[in-house]
Symmetry: C2
Subunit: 278 residues, 2 copies
């Protein structure tokens, strides 16, 4: 599956380079469309166009599933794309953002065959096919930091209670809300984050498809139900939980279950490699 | 005051370049000392040494007030330094971090004469003397984004209540917890953040001295009491509030007053230029 991985890398790299070249350029931040909970800017539309154009130039003939345009063309295969993960960070001037491209042979995440996530700055591109790659080498997990990335609504009592519970369960980690979930997921794959949780029920498949395959191929355990997330349309996939190892993930899920924030089976976790287990 | 500003810039840039060159290098993340609420890593100590060495090489003869070592040498003048703002981000692999260097002629923030803040990636260095600079040009405020940066303890009821209040007051902005306050302050100076609040009562003068002068010189209104923060020792300065304009800042302060999170006078705000006022 080196063809699809190289394709994903080429497309994501080109988009990342374009985004880097326009970073802090106010003229690209103009809001073009307003949606319910976010906006589309000139930069979002241009980088999406660039990705679609590059995929076609490189011979990709399937459906392109992406944030702004929905589905372009027909699949399978599908390219599941987040042209600019962390677009509000990009607008504010935080360098914490990334480009995400995934290739699936069928209609759900279990059919993902390749992906690439290119962070805006400081990192090589990460990619996956049968293995997880950091640049040209394999992803090698680093020393873990006691950090919980948590996305929740401050007004929601259940979500706030869950955050307090998690801090207790995990030994009072520092909490961050960085605002670019694909890059956060890469930092889970790299073994650096203790846990990553989003309980706002608003994450979409396009946000996470690319980083999902990288996490899985890096040997981080994931709930089995993620495998059924669709690849053939843009859709909200619900609350998301990632832990550095099986023990952390089980703690995240059973605590979420008790608060009604996780509908799946907390014991049904695929430990792909268990590399992080003590 | 171009001498001190050029000095601050030279020192901060050299430190930033060093930090960039070691980003993602696990060998520099080894914890060397454990403190009450954070740790010192090899990278923290080496970049601090580099800054002290560079200041002395460039002829700075005063006291150097910095995170790890306390005060080195005798002032006035004082160099107030945060060698690596966002050091946990740096360790995790988030590119959201910065170097901060400020020069003061006396013992408090009212005597700051120059400063530089160099974000790790994607930005020029920002600096201040009589004006605020972005690279070689002046800081020109961009279009504001509806984002609140909020640092609080999730377990603290008053702090959590304040966050919910602020979301109401400010029209439900998105909330971020990026983890590098000097870089967040630069994004306030750039006119991009609606508000920045830290109510954990743990921010120290070294964290904010450099970005404070940039915010002030960019014409953003600040509470008068910040002027009395010390420059001659490392110390916690308490809760911090920055707003894009006087109206936002007043809202932050009066709401914090009611909850007992702000001890100063909410009406006592220095509007330096009022450039952001409607």
């Amino acid at each position: 599956m080196e063809g699809p991985r190289k394709l994903a890398l080429k497309v994501a790299e080109r988009a990342r380079d374009f985004l880097r070249s326009k970073f802090l350029d106010e003229s690209y931040l103009k809001v073009v469309e307003e949606h319910k909970s976010d906006v589309s800017r000139k930069i979002d539309l241009e980088v999406e166009d660039l990705i679609i154009k590059t995929l076609r130039e490189e011979g990709f003939k399937g459906g392109i599933v992406t944030e702004e345009k929905g589905v372009v063309g027909e699949g399978p295969p599908y390219a599941v794309v987040d042209p600019l993960d962390g677009s509000l960070n990009y607008a504010v001037g935080s360098p914490h953002w990334a480009v995400s491209v995934a290739i699936a042979e069928g209609e759900d995440f279990s059919t993902l065959v390749a992906s690439a996530v290119c962070p805006g700055f400081g990192h090589p591109c990460y990619s996956a096919s049968d293995k997880a790659y950091s640049g040209e080498g394999e992803v090698i997990p680093g020393a873990p930091e006691k950090v919980l990335v948590f996305y929740g609504e401050p007004e929601d009592e259940r979500q706030s209670k869950y955050l307090v519970e998690l801090r207790k369960l995990l030994g009072r980690p520092k909490v961050r809300v960085p605002g670019a979930i694909a890059l956060d997921m890469v930092n889970v794959a790299r073994g650096k984050l203790l846990a990553l949780v989003d309980v706002r029920n608003k994450i979409r498949n396009v946000d996470v498809a690319g980083a999902y395959l990288i996490i899985k191929r890096a040997g981080v355990p994931v709930p089995e139900v993620y495998e059924s997330f669709p690849t053939d349309e843009v859709s909200v996939v619900g609350n998301l939980f990632f832990g550095r190892d099986e023990r952390v993930l089980s703690a995240l899920l059973s605590s979420a279950s008790k608060l009604g924030l996780w509908q799946g089976d907390p014991d049904n976790v695929q430990a792909r490699a268990g590399r992080f287990l003590p």
